[in-house]
């Protein structure tokens, strides 16, 4: 029998090793798996590479991981945010490496990893600083640059409903990077708001089919 449901958030992240590459869903706070990140802070793995749209803000989520000095590299599109001071200070002092990636290229590099694409050409970023050192080619009459997939050891994802096969649904714009990231990690871990019995999810509404997901952990109810 398949049962991807793990008993706790702590157990879900227990084997994340020092030096792991971790995809983290979210766009600002929407879709950010804050409880899995809290568990990772408690677990203490170091020297992590975080791949996410942002670099954390307001001392929660990725910012908490950054403040705990667990992150050595961030691959993201938009680290600059109100309240992103945790990242800003460590970046300026050279303690954190930043790889800045245009948002669409970030999404596509993650998609490529999950879809077995070896690399792809895109006109995004051609002629800019972010193309420096990258192979380029004239395709369809315009300069395009070669981009490589981003694979990761783990993905931490916030979803809404999940079942024991790992099927997931999302809520509103909290979906953002989740479905892509689930496909690109060796071990995709979903934090869900509710666990439902197999068969309860309408097959038409499942956004992430269970094949991509290794672990499902129930988020604790947050009292406002």
């Amino acid at each position: 029998m398949i049962n991807k449901i793990v008993p706790s958030l702590d157990e879900a992240v227990a084997d994340i090793h020092d030096g792991a590459k971790i995809l983290v869903s979210g766009f600002g706070g929407a879709g950010l798996p804050t409880q899995l990140l809290d568990a990772l802070v408690a677990q203490g793995a170091k020297n992590l590479t975080i791949i996410s749209n942002n670099a954390g803000s307001g001392g929660v989520g990725i910012a908490k991981l950054v403040l705990a000095k667990q992150v050595s590299k961030v691959i993201c599109s938009f680290p600059r945010q109100p309240g992103s001071s945790a990242f800003d200070e460590l970046f300026r002092s050279g303690a954190i490496e930043l790889e800045l990636v245009p948002q669409g290229t970030l999404a596509e590099r993650i998609r490529a990893a999950g879809a077995g694409i070896g690399a792809f050409f895109t006109p995004t970023g051609a002629g800019t600083e972010l193309a420096i050192g990258k192979e380029s080619r004239i395709l369809d009459g315009e300069e395009q640059i070669l981009e490589y997939p981003i694979h990761a050891d783990f993905a931490l994802i916030k979803a809404n409903l999940g079942d024991r096969w790992g099927n997931l649904t999302y809520r509103r714009s909290g979906r953002n990077f989740g479905p892509l990231m689930a496909t690109a990690a060796t071990c995709a871990i979903a934090q869900v708001s509710q666990i439902v019995a197999l068969g309860e999810l309408d097959p038409e509404t499942i956004i992430t089919p269970g094949i991509y997901v290794q672990r499902v952990a129930l988020a604790e109810k947050v009292t406002a």
Binding site: A30, S84, P102, G104, A107, T128, R172, S173, F177, L180
Partner: protein, 222 residues
Amino acid sequence: MSTRYTGYTRRTIAQIAKRIVQDIPDGAYVNLGIGQPMTIANHLPDDKEIIIQSENGILGMGPVATGEDIDTELVNAGKQNVTLLKGGSIFHHGESFAMIRGGHIDICVLGAFQVSVTGDLANWRTLDRGAIPAVGGAMDLAKGAKKVFVMMEHLSKSGESKLVTQCTYPLTGVGVVDMIYTDLATLQVTPDGLLVIDRVDGLSHAELESLSEIKLRETNND
């Protein structure tokens, strides 16, 4: 720094937004960048259906949410809580940027630090020491949207023209801008340079050129 003239009143951000809306046709799919462009969502007219796409996976985005409508899982590109219109849809980032990069967005409106006479755009990074570089979806939008509108102040805080012969800030895209809407004028990027479509009352073409520190083409009806 240019001479200051006094015979005109600058357009407010709301007035620039309304001027841009005039140029967005009924039925257009439009993406709004972070900053001033996001305010356009508050000026959508009743007589046109304009569909707003948000890079984080929303089509049919509505105005900023208030009170009970606030849902922390429904945000715009600037991470403000927003609403979803009837007929709106949600999709993941891969889909959203396939939409953007695949040429399906009619117009994107972006802010800018500088725009060159040939339509080069610089809007992601200043050269200030210690500034954190952040690109977001700007490079994807600059390349992928069918038309790129820029909404910005005509002059920088220190009074320098943001219209330039060549950008000195790092580029977002090369030759990507079609239209420029500022607090002083509306300009079109043409193969022969920037064409002034309109300018605020009380500001002459010569004064606008002087403030812009570059040669501008005059419209015939001037």
